[in-house]
């Protein structure tokens, strides 16, 4: 059943991405001031939203573990956070490429970029902590607490665009009160978001399965050592 869901999600995500790539590169016109490079927004923004969504779902999964003490929830939280970290890295990389063309620099210590980088470092810390703890229940408990702390920091990241003076572009999407993107240009962005979300879900399902197997192997290993 799980395999069927993974395959279905991957195929659907692939199909939407292929159709969307056709629209982005062949139908959507160049942006007036930025030229062709603006198209990177179709991956940059969906990857950012996917990573934020993932970090929050990861936190709720961690909270679920703290309430129910079910290690499967911890596996889900770890898998989601791992996939979200990958998408956050994609966001930073695509943003950096865009910055090189538009600002002429790969990186600037702008408030939002810095906050996003901080966010990445916190989640690197999350995985360092997980690797440093051998006992599965302690690992799950402390990871869940760290995840809650991290998500409070994400709120600062998310709000930083309003709080800090920044050279990062202001909100362009209609949903964030930007209204700076033509409807024909905005639609592929939301389709890409859907595709990336499906891809992320498929990856999470694969990682959760691997985590489950690892848990089983660890249990067997402990069992073998006991004799």
């Amino acid at each position: 059943m799980r395999l069927k869901i993974i395959v279905t999600l991957s195929v659907l995500a692939g199909a939407i991405l292929a159709w969307n790539l056709h629209r982005i590169f062949l139908q959507v016109p160049d942006e007036a001031s930025q030229g062709a490079i603006f198209r990177i927004i179709y991956f940059h923004v969906p990857a950012a939203i996917t990573s934020f969504t993932g970090f929050y779902i990861g936190m709720f999964s961690g909270v679920g573990y703290l309430i129910r003490k079910d290690l499967r929830l911890d596996s889900i939280a770890a898998s989601i956070n791992e996939v979200s970290l990958a998408f956050a890295t994609i966001t930073i990389c695509t943003g950096s490429i865009w910055g090189r063309i538009i600002w002429g620099i790969w990186w600037t210590w702008d408030a939002r970029l810095t906050s996003y980088f901080v966010c990445l470092l916190i989640y690197f810390g999350y995985f360092m902590l997980r690797r440093a703890i051998d006992d599965p229940t302690t690992r799950a408990r402390l990871s869940a607490v760290l995840s809650i702390f991290a998500c409070v920091d994400i709120v600062l990241v998310w709000k930083s665009i309003e709080w800090f003076r920044t050279q990062h572009p202001g909100p362009v999407l209609e949903i964030r009160g930007g209204g700076g993107m033509a409807p024909g240009m905005e639609a592929p962005l939301w389709w890409n978001f859907l595709a990336l979300l499906m891809l992320a879900t498929a990856l999470v399902l694969i990682r959760t399965r691997q985590e489950g197997m690892r848990r089983e192997i660890d249990a067997l290993r402990r069992h073998a050592h006991a004799f």
Binding site: T114, L146, V152
Partner: protein, 224 residues
């Protein structure tokens, strides 16, 4: 009232233990002096430029030196299984945490009060509004203390805790450090404060949010 009494008992115990041994404070003050020395090699600046970056330098010293105190906070309880004894005592996790927070806070403020005059003498930077700078120090230090003590509790049983603690807390502390650095810069250079008052709110919000969060979650971290 009982909460406060037991919390203060934990704080007094930690402070008494530190005053007798002076392990963490001595190491922390020495480390702060070493950083002050290293900065003199790293930067060769004009007096006006030093005033501009003084806030940043000060908070780097406070954060680095503070970590040494925070690292010892729960680790000192590992000897003779004292942490297990503390957890078995009729003191809740929140009381234990808050007591340790108060003790750490006092120790870090002591280290800051020693480092600041040395910094003023070494770099010839006289803060324009000392009273307000002290208030910023108190606010920023509480942020460092709460996050640091919480993560000290989380990493106390890890093999690489000395390495893990700074790696985990510095990214977490960034909003508080940015606020404290910005306010300190303004107060040292003497430029008008009005535009930077926002950072006071950020610091207070950071402290309130993370104090509540830590008090709510510390029982899970310590006991399970």
């Amino acid at each position: 009232m009982r909460f406060l009494r037991q919390t203060l008992a934990i704080a007094a115990k930690d402070l008494r233990s530190e005053i007798r041994g002076k392990e963490a404070v001595n190491a922390s003050v020495s480390f702060a002096l070493v950083i002050l020395l290293l900065f003199s090699f790293a930067f060769d600046l004009e007096p006006a430029e030093i005033r501009d970056i003084a806030g940043g330098l000060l908070w780097l010293i406070f954060a680095f030196a503070g970590t040494l105190i925070l690292n010892r906070s729960f680790a000192r309880e590992l000897v003779n299984d004292c942490l297990d004894a503390l957890l078995a005592s009729p003191v809740s996790g929140a009381q234990l945490f808050f007591g340790k927070c108060i003790a750490n806070y006092v120790l870090i403020v002591i280290v800051e009060c020693i480092s600041l005059p040395v910094f003023v003498i070494f770099y010839n930077v006289v803060p324009q509004r000392l009273a307000l700078l002290f208030l910023v120090m108190l606010l920023g230090t509480w942020g460092i203390t709460v996050i640091g003590t919480m993560f000290s509790a989380m990493t106390v049983n890890l093999r690489l805790r000395e390495l893990m603690l700074p790696t985990l807390i510095y990214p977490m502390l960034i909003p508080a450090l940015i606020g404290a650095i910005e306010l300190s810069r303004v107060l040292i250079t003497g430029v008008p404060l009005a535009e930077s008052l926002f950072w006071f709110r950020v610091l207070v919000a950071f402290n309130v949010i993370f104090t509540i969060l830590a008090l709510a979650l510390v029982e899970i971290v310590l006991v399970g």
